[in-house]
C-alpha cells in the first residue's frame, strides 16, 4: 500500500472579525517539507504594491532575507530586502483575493531554512501581478510555528490558509 506523503496538518478560514495575523503553532516535526496554500485579501489602503504579506518562523522576525522577481504582463522588476514577503494582495475589501503557495523544505533540519513563494494577485482590472520569491531564514532552529501577517491592515473574512506536511518517504 502506498504511503501517504501529502497531508493537511491544519487550516483556518478568517471570520467576520478579520485577523491581524495567522499562526500555525506546535507544527508536527514528522514531515520533511511544509507547504502553505492561501487565498487572502486585506482591508489595507495605500500603495497597492505596499500591501504585501510576510511570514516569520517561531515568532522571530530577524535574519530574514529575500530576492523577488515581479511581472505584470507588461513589465518586470526585481528587488531584495530583509524580510520574507509572500505576495502582494488586492487590498481595500474589493472581494478579489490573491493566491499564494509557500514551500519550506527541510523545516526540521539544523541548516538555514530556504523558502520559495509563488504568488498571483488579480486586481480585477487591467492590472495583475505575479511574484516569485526566494526567501531565507538564517536560523538553525527547527520550525515549530509560522506566522503570516499583512504589512498593513488585517486579513478580511474568507481569507483561507492551509498548512500541508509532505514526507519524502
Amino acid at each position: 500500500m502506498a504511503t501517504s506523503t501529502y497531508n493537511l496538518i491544519a487550516s483556518q478560514v478568517v471570520g467576520s472579525g478579520g485577523a491581524s495575523s495567522i499562526t500555525f503553532s506546535s507544527i508536527p516535526q514528522t514531515y520533511t517539507d511544509l507547504l502553505v496554500v492561501m487565498s487572502v485579501s486585506t482591508n489595507a489602503s495605500g500603495t497597492a504594491s505596499a500591501n504585501g504579506t510576510n511570514i516569520n518562523f517561531n515568532g522571530v522576525t530577524t535574519n530574514r532575507t529575500y530576492k523577488r522577481l515581479e511581472g505584470s504582463g507588461s513589465s518586470v522588476s526585481s528587488d531584495s530586502g530583509s524580510n520574507i514577503p509572500v505576495g502582494t494582495v488586492n487590498a481595500g475589501s474589493s472581494g478579489v483575493f490573491s493566491n499564494q503557495q509557500i514551500y519550506i523544505p527541510n523545516y526540521t533540519s539544523s541548516n538555514y531554512k530556504s523558502v520559495s513563494v509563488d504568488s498571483v494577485v488579480e486586481y480585477n482590472s487591467s492590472v495583475g501581478t505575479q511574484d516569485l520569491v526566494a526567501g531565507l531564514w538564517s536560523s538553525t532552529a527547527a520550525i515549530t510555528s509560522l506566522t503570516i501577517y499583512p504589512d498593513a491592515g488585517s486579513f478580511i473574512q474568507y481569507s483561507t490558509f492551509y498548512l500541508y506536511g509532505i514526507k519524502n518517504s
Binding site: 491581524s20 505596499a50 528587488d79 524580510n83 501577517y149 504589512d151 498593513a152 488585517s154 486579513f155
Partner: protein
C-alpha cells in the same frame, strides 16, 4: 483592531486574542517600511523607464530603424 488567530496543529485548538501593544507597533513599523520600499521601487522603475526612452530616442536619431532599436533596448 482585528484579533490574532493561532491554530495549534497538535490539538486543533483555535485561539483568538487582541494584538499586544508590541505587535501593533511592529505592524505599524512594517507598514511604514513597506510603503517606503514601494515608493523607492516605483521611483527606481520610473528612472529606468525614462533612461530607456532616452536611449531609444538617441538610437533613432542615429538612424536605427524601430526594429533595430527594439532589438537593442527591447
Amino acid at each position: 483592531m482585528a484579533d490574532v488567530i493561532e491554530v495549534n496543529c497538535e490539538t486543533g485548538e483555535v485561539t483568538t486574542r487582541p494584538q499586544t501593544d508590541e505587535e501593533i507597533a511592529a505592524q505599524a513599523a512594517a507598514a511604514a517600511q513597506a510603503e517606503a520600499d514601494a515608493k523607492a521601487k516605483a521611483d527606481a522603475d520610473a528612472a529606468i523607464a525614462k533612461a530607456k526612452a532616452s536611449a531609444q530616442a538617441k538610437l533613432t536619431a542615429l538612424g536605427l530603424t524601430a526594429d533595430e532599436v527594439a532589438a537593442l533596448v527591447g
